[in-house]
């Protein structure tokens, strides 16, 4: 009996390569698992069963021909804002409920070329705006560790699908923490690469200077394998950086002895759950035992400004990006208006959910005449200050270690009425997007059975440093082997 929830990519690959299992068997096991747990977890928007079985058959042929790459024949789910040709891509919005993209995102093309078996598209906060997946226009996703709690967001469906064993890995996107925070909440590994490391072509844009696609996996080795497959320059995305992609698996297993790690005190925010802080301190002590030099008293003084910078820049960019939803070329269109302008306004009124409208309004305000300098320009300048503080820190430290979130997963509905508290759940992850640098969240333990994530941050294009530290920690603790019981 194949159990996809206990089978990371590297182990599944060995079984496929040695022909102990076939991709069709593995895919059927994933589909069976989806059928069994999806009514409880609701991680997926679409299950692509037929497509998956066909892809698995192709993968088996490829493997029989001796072409078994690390991801060939392995089932995956993709966050439902990554365009998949011929497969509905909704952004969990009424606006795109029936949208079928005419092309694939570059990351999807790359994974298909490696032999991915796409088993489904994952639920998310509408247009990636949220931290709990409760903003999906269709239904919330439930945390596999406690079905009364949120899985985090916005890539909450992707995180829950991996944690529940519905998929061996997933891709998510991260604009202010949307890979790392749900990875932390679901006790999986989630990596936000450097801005420009992975092409964003075909990812439906939220905030273009912050968005980045990344792996959500069962362990660190898997994150390295997926990053190998999706990284690199793409002529379709001029913000993707034309620099060489290393083999990210090569650093795994290297000692972290002598590495210098800084602990920025501002990340242990007021209101942080003390039990979660203890888990993080214990994780840092473990890194020290593994030979790293820890500086417990680093300061990045502008960190408390990151929330304001983020909630000006991200909505401003979103207000421009979401102007394309006009009911003309694709998506929902309001019927019954008498003019073009009324159609446009009503399409957007009824097609977007409340959080999306709130952010469009906020961004439009910040960019409007009379307020641009006070909000948008000011935020861009403070963005420079935040980046410089990170740059200075990375002159002294190989990486910074922080919590991924200030709390364990909260209850469904608990924060829906209090916007600022909800926004604060990304307070440890947003500065990373503002600076454009890479960071990972890995499982660091539990508080009363609920997951706590550890964040490792490094300078631009230092994903190898992050993976090396994350792997050393993971291998010495084994938290990644714990699985949610459903």
């Amino acid at each position: 009996m194949i159990n996809p929830k206990q089978l990371p990519i590297h182990e599944a690959h060995n079984l496929l390569k040695s022909k102990q299992i076939s991709s069709v068997e593995l895919t059927k096991a994933a589909l069976a698992r989806i059928q069994a747990v999806e009514p409880k977890v609701r991680a997926l928007m679409t299950v692509t069963e037929e497509h998956a079985l066909l892809a698995a058959t192709h993968a088996d042929k490829r493997i029989a021909d001796g072409d078994c790459r690390p991801l060939t024949g392995i089932p995956a789910v993709m966050k439902d804002l990554l365009c998949t040709k011929g497969i509905r891509t909704t952004c969990s919005s009424k606006m795109l409920e029936n949208f079928v993209p005419p092309y694939n995102a570059t990351v999807i093309e790359k994974l298909y070329a490696e032999g991915m078996v796409l088993v489904g598209k994952a639920n998310m906060d509408e247009f990636a705006m949220g931290s709990s997946t409760e903003n999906s226009a269709f239904y919330p996703t439930y945390n596999p560790w406690d079905l009364g709690r949120v899985p985090g967001g916005s890539s909450g469906g992707a995180a829950a699908a991996v944690a529940a064993g519905e998929s061996i890995y997933a891709l998510g996107t991260d604009t202010g923490g949307s890979i790392r925070q749900p990875a932390g909440f679901c006790s999986i590994t989630g990596l936000k690469p450097t801005y420009g490391r992975v092409s964003r072509y075909g990812a439906i844009a939220f905030a273009s200077s912050l968005d980045q696609i990344g792996p959500m996996t069962q362990d660190v080795e898997d994150a390295a394998i997926v990053l190998n497959a999706i990284s690199g320059h793409d002529k379709h995305d001029p913000t993707s950086v034309p620099c060489e992609v290393p083999d990210y698996t090569k650093v795994l297993g290297k000692s972290i002895k002598g590495m210098k790690l800084g602990i920025p005190r501002e990340y242990f925010v007021d209101g942080m759950q003390p039990e979660a802080a203890s888990v993080i301190r214990a994780a840092i002590t473990k890194l020290e035992e593994l030979g790293a030099h820890i500086d417990w008293d680093v300061s990045l003084p502008s960190t408390p400004c990151a929330l304001a910078v983020y909630y000006i820049i991200a909505p401003s960019e979103a207000s421009a990006n979401l102007a394309r939803f006009d009911g003309v070329r694709y998506g929902f269109s309001y019927n019954g208006a008498v003019s073009m302008w009324e159609t446009l306004e009503k399409t957007r009124q009824f097609g977007f959910g409340p959080e999306v409208k709130r952010r469009i309004m906020l961004g439009t305000y910040a960019l409007s005449a009379g307020y641009y300098d006070a909000y948008y320009l000011k935020a861009q300048k403070v963005r420079t200050v935040i980046r410089q503080e990170f740059d200075n820190a990375f002159d002294k430290y190989d990486a910074l270690i922080t919590p991924t979130s200030p709390t364990v997963p909260f209850k469904i509905g608990e924060k829906m009425d209090d916007l600022m508290t909800l926004y604060l759940s990304d307070v440890c992850t947003m500065p990373v997007n503002i600076a454009g640098i890479p960071a990972i969240s890995i499982p660091a333990g539990f508080v009363d059975g609920l997951p706590v994530g550890l964040q490792i941050i490094a300078k631009s294009f230092a994903e190898e440093t992050i993976l090396r530290i994350a792997h050393a920690y993971e291998q010495s603790t084994g938290w990644q082997q714990r699985r949610a019981e459903l």
Binding site: Y195, C305, I360, V382
Partner: protein
């Protein structure tokens, strides 16, 4: 900073976002609350600090202007809510 009804309607018009009556008051309150949290930025001295628009060093990325194949019209129009042959159909812009 308190957003009044008129300002909410002005922003909604700029964003081409239709507003239900109850949303006008709700957004006014919610956006005002969020804006209060932005005051913290005024504490940061940014007099000689240049703005950052995006975080990597790429700037003005150019490419050759080459003719390439684009998507066939049938694909481009496949998601159109209202189409007329090879055209998107909308209400008249100019009466």
């Amino acid at each position: 900073m308190k957003l009044d009804r008129e300002e909410v309607l002005h922003i909604a018009a700029l964003a081409k976002l239709g507003m239900a009556e109850e949303d006008i008051a709700l957004f006014g309150t919610q956006l005002s609350n969020i804006l209060e949290n932005f005051d913290i930025l005024n504490k940061v001295d940014t007099v000689n600090v240049p703005p950052t628009a995006q975080p990597n060093s790429l700037c003005n990325v150019m490419r050759e202007d080459q003719v390439t194949r684009s998507l066939p019209p049938s694909d481009v129009l496949a998601n159109a809510p209202h189409r007329d042959g090879e055209f998107f159909r909308i209400h008249a812009v100019l009466e």
